[in-house]
């Protein structure tokens, strides 16, 4: 978690974001798998953790100049992490979260430090990539139910001139609400859809992981530091 509020998403912040996401997935992998038990094949937490651990290993292994090094752009860092997730996860969450990060990385292009509007565009690209790949819409009880409102909340905050960390915190909050909104829904995608009405009453594990991803972004950007400063009236 960043102790200072960041004004831009640079390569270092992107790496901190990924490390934070990996830590959250490691900490919650049991919970994610428990969420997956009634509606899926009980592997979401294990699979995603395998992927984020591989991302961590790649960040640690790369020297300066690589995606994990001091150089590079946030787009490169996210793109490399996305490729790692696609390669290593084994379940549906690999292609889906991997595509999200890759699309976000591609949208950031060569920019060395992305401002709120650029991060908003990257998150929008991530959402579009996930929707195109998974062909899920809001209301299907998938990760899209968290990601769609999160991107909208980020965009709204950015347009209103909110600092980057606050836009990310707004996105994380919307993702949490979106994840909770999957509980009463009947799943229409993936293995959970085989259950029909019996899929009601369960929070979608992919949506929960989106919440973790965006919470990690807000933490990496120092949203809490910003809030603490505001609380002191500084």
């Amino acid at each position: 978690m960043s102790a200072v509020a960041r004004e831009a998403l640079d390569a270092a912040a992107a790496r901190e974001w990924l490390r934070g996401f990996a830590a959250a997935v490691a900490e919650r992998s049991g919970e994610l798998t428990d969420l997956d038990r009634p509606v899926g094949d009980s592997d979401h937490g294990v699979n995603l953790r395998r992927g984020t651990e591989a991302v961590l290993a790649a960040l640690d292994a790369d020297g300066a100049g690589g995606a994990g090094g001091a150089d590079g752009t946030p787009g490169q860092v996210l793109g490399a992490a996305g490729r790692t997730l696609v390669s290593t996860v084994g379940g549906a969450s690999g292609p889906l979260f991997g595509t999200a990060l890759r699309r976000a990385g591609k949208a950031l292009g060569e920019v060395p430090a992305a401002d709120a509007a650029q991060v908003a565009a990257a998150l929008r690209a991530a959402l579009e990539g996930v929707v195109r790949l998974g062909e899920a819409r809001v209301g299907d009880a998938t990760m899209v139910d968290a990601l769609d409102p999160a991107v909208a909340a980020f965009e709204r905050a950015a347009q209103e001139g909110a600092p980057l960390p606050r836009a990310a915190r707004a996105a994380a909050g919307a993702a949490a609400e979106g994840a909770a909104s999957t509980v009463p829904l009947v799943a229409r995608k993936g293995r959970a859809s085989y259950l029909g009405p019996r899929s009601r009453g369960h929070l979608d594990p992919g949506a929960r992981s989106v919440e973790l991803l965006l919470t990690a972004l807000a933490d990496a950007l120092g949203a809490d530091a910003l809030d603490a400063r505001a609380g002191e009236g500084a």
Binding site: D43, N47, V86, S87, T88, V89, G90, G91, A92, G94, P95, L96, G98, T99, L133, G134, G190, R191
Partner: protein
């Protein structure tokens, strides 16, 4: 003459992929046309984008076109995510087939064994989607 067609069978299970590949190759008279890709890198159940890439790349490198058959949900996503990264020239030579895994593989292998082009192999495999057994 059209390029020869190779089949890549992507399953969550190495055993399932190998079994279907064996059957398809036997029916179509030629194991060289079929590559089985199943399980994760660490030997568990799941689909590996790297293994898919390796199998498809081997076929493309020998000048063949590739029909990819997949089993369940996340195999589709793994294949689609990999295809999305291909350049246009290669993308035209790889097709994801919307067919039942075993029946589609057999139909595709038989059609490929006649020297048919990729589009015809895919079309015949997709016919298998609508075939009734009883």
């Amino acid at each position: 003459m059209s390029a020869p067609v190779r089949l890549v069978l992507l399953s969550h299970s190495a055993a399932a992929a190998a079994g279907v590949a064996e059957l398809a190759a036997q029916v179509a008279g030629g194991a060289q046309r079929v590559r089985a890709v199943g399980g994760t890198a660490d030997g568990g159940l799941g689909t590996s984008a790297d293994a898919l890439e390796e199998a498809c790349r081997a076929a493309l490198d020998e000048g063949a076109d590739v029909a990819v058959l997949v089993d369940l949900g996340s195999a589709v996503l793994t294949a689609k995510a990999w295809l999305a990264e291909l350049e246009d020239e290669e993308l035209a030579r790889v097709r994801l087939v919307d067919a039942p895994f075993l029946e589609g593989a057999v139909a595709a292998a038989v059609t490929a064994s006649t020297g048919a082009a990729l589009a015809e192999v895919v079309a015949q495999a997709e016919v298998a989607r609508g075939l009734r057994k009883l």
